[in-house]
Structure formats: structure tokens, C-alpha cells
Amino acid sequence: MNNYQIGMAQLIVAKAPGIIRSTGLGSCIGIILYDPFAKVGGMAHAMLPKHRPGRGDNKGKYVDTAIDTMLEDMEALGANRLNIIAKLAGGAQMFPDSDRDSLMVIGSKNIAAAEEHLSNLGIAIVARDVGGHSGRTLELDCRDGTLYIKTVSNETKI
């Protein structure tokens, strides 16, 4: 089996029958890209909405650079950009909100940034499990693009 595990601010792409896992996404957003014909998938565990120069060059850290990098890596594995679909999971608010603390709403900013960047690229978001107040563990099956999601109290798939 080809099992891959990614952590915070990382990304990876894989071919079927690969499985990509990431444990405990909180305010981070899990961006899943999948080409159902080439059976090539990718997952990013992105922390922040937008790359700005001088903020480090880890591609997996930002929503926009993570998506761009995954697309290139997936094409290198034989995916066709026109066939690629997206799923989103994560972007929770882990700690209760306080007045004027923008850090506590970083999750919703990450969701909005992913939606915007994917829409600019013309990539359809076919499923999502975002927001809320719980961490999520994600598992992508690259054979069919199913995304399994676990929280401390629940399990689902999209």
C-alpha cells in the first residue's frame, strides 16, 4: 500500500491506490484535488490564506501557493487540469471568539481564500465539510476520490 501522511503546512500528491492522511486539522484548511480519470489526488494542510513575499517560502503553508503547487505536481503524475475537482474540509474555529481577535477567525478566512482561488482557476468544489468548532482528521482514497473525515465525536465521508 502507498500510504502518505502530511502535517501542518505540508502537501502531497499521489496516484491510485495511494491513501493520503492528515491528522487534526483545526483552523487549517484541507484542500483536496482529484482527477477521477487519471486517478491522481492531492491534499494540502494549509495554515494561512495568502502568500506574501517575505513570509517564508514553504508552499504548503498558504492556501494559494498550496493549490498552485498541487496542480503542477498532479500534472506531472498525469492528471489533466480540466478534469480536476476539489473538496474542502477544515477551517474550524477552535477557541471561542473574543472581541476583535482576528486570529480566532483564521479558519473562515482560510475557507474563503480556498473558495476564491479555486473559483479563479475554474476548479469546481464538489463537496465540503468546513467551519464548526471541531478538529478533523482526513483520509483521501486516491482510487475513487472519497474523503473520509473524523472528528472526536463523528465520522463522515464526502
Binding site: G7, M94, F95, L103
Partner: protein, 203 residues
């Protein structure tokens, strides 16, 4: 900053020891029992590795989050596993029934107050030692997977750096009971601390 030199490591371990020593005393006073605490572990780590220092990304923990404000800004996290949270709460609130993932308001308040007292002791020792002004935000609480809760302070650090400077200490020695106190200075605060104590980085 991508790597700590020997002097920086030494200074941060010393600072961490002073802070955790005071926090342990405060906790022992509240609980009326002896508290064991480890020598702090100091390391500059990439974001994907931070959860290793609290038992792994999928470990379920109660986490009290506090922003550190003032001259040396950063974040303090006080984390307990379920056994430890049970033990602490039962000594603070006798006969309490506990569902770890659905704590009552009283249980939440008690844990937040405990986090507040520990962090307060930790930081006032550090503030005295460094002669800097430091104060804490109100505590916030979550009970969830370690990695998910760590994403919040990491997002704060991630705006400026690809690494987190971690000053971690562990409470309790028995394997079933685990408590952690993590001090995460902002990158600017870490440099300032080195400056205050005359520990320059190797150029």
C-alpha cells in the same frame, strides 16, 4: 532564525526552568500535592513537528490558550490529557461527573482558571527575571485533537516564520497522567530576549 546556537538554547532552557518552577509551585499549592515537572525542552521546529511535543497530532487534550502581551509577546498553552483533567477537576470540584468532550461550564471555568494561574506564575517569573512587562489575555479553552488546537498559535507564528520556537515542559511522571506547558515566543520576542540577556546569534 533557523537554528539555535548553544548559548541561545542554554538561555531559553534557563528561562523556561524559572517559569515552570513557579508554575509547578502554584499548581502544588492549589492541589495540595507534590507536582513533578521536567526540565524544559527547547527547540526550533517546523510546524508539522510541534504536536510531537504533546504526545502526537491525534492525541485528545484539553488546551487552555493564552496570548502573551507586552514587551515579549507570544502564546502560552497549558494542556492536559483526560486522566489529568479528571484528577485535577476532582480535587477542585468534588463528586464531579465528567464527559471530557462536553465539560460543564463549571468544569470549563475551573480548567481555564487553572491554566490562568499556571501561566501567570510562569510569566511573572519570566517578567521579573528579564525586567520586561508581560501580561496575559483572558484564557480560552478547547478539548480536541492536539494538532487542531495547535493550528491557532501556529497560524499566528506562520505569518512571520516557517518555524516555531518551542519551550516545552511536562508535568507528572506517571504514564497515564500528562500535562504540558508550552511557551511560544513570537519571532521578534525571541530575538529581543536574546538581546536583553546579551546572547547574540553567531553571525
Amino acid at each position: 532564525m533557523e537554528k539555535l546556537n548553544f548559548n541561545e538554547q542554554d538561555l531559553l532552557t534557563e528561562i523556561g526552568s524559572i517559569g515552570t518552577g513557579h508554575a509547578a509551585t502554584a499548581m502544588a499549592d492549589i492541589l495540595g500535592q507534590k507536582i513533578t515537572i521536567t526540565v524544559p525542552h527547547v527547540e526550533l521546529v517546523s510546524f508539522d513537528r510541534v504536536a510531537e511535543f504533546v504526545g502526537g497530532p491525534g492525541r485528545n487534550l484539553a488546551c487552555i490558550y493564552l496570548d502573551v502581551l507586552g514587551d515579549l509577546p507570544g502564546t502560552v498553552l497549558v494542556m492536559f490529557n483526560e486522566n489529568t483533567a479528571r484528577r485535577l477537576l476532582s480535587s477542585l470540584i468534588p463528586d464531579t461527573e465528567l464527559n471530557f468532550f462536553e465539560l460543564s461550564h463549571l468544569q470549563q471555568s475551573a480548567l481555564m482558571e487553572l491554566g490562568n494561574i499556571l501561566s501567570g506564575a510562569y510569566l511573572s517569573a519570566l517578567a521579573d527575571f528579564s525586567q520586561q512587562r508581560m501580561y496575559l489575555s483572558v484564557p480560552r479553552l478547547a478539548v480536541d485533537m492536539a494538532e487542531a488546537m495547535l493550528s491557532v498559535p501556529m497560524a499566528k507564528l506562520g505569518c512571520k516564520s516557517d518555524y516555531a520556537l518551542l519551550v516545552q515542559a511536562r508535568f507528572f511522571e506517571e504514564s497515564s497522567n500528562r500535562g504540558y506547558i508550552l511557551f511560544l515566543p513570537d519571532p521578534g520576542a525571541a530575538l529581543r530576549m536574546m538581546g536583553i540577556f546579551g546572547v547574540g546569534s553567531d553571525e
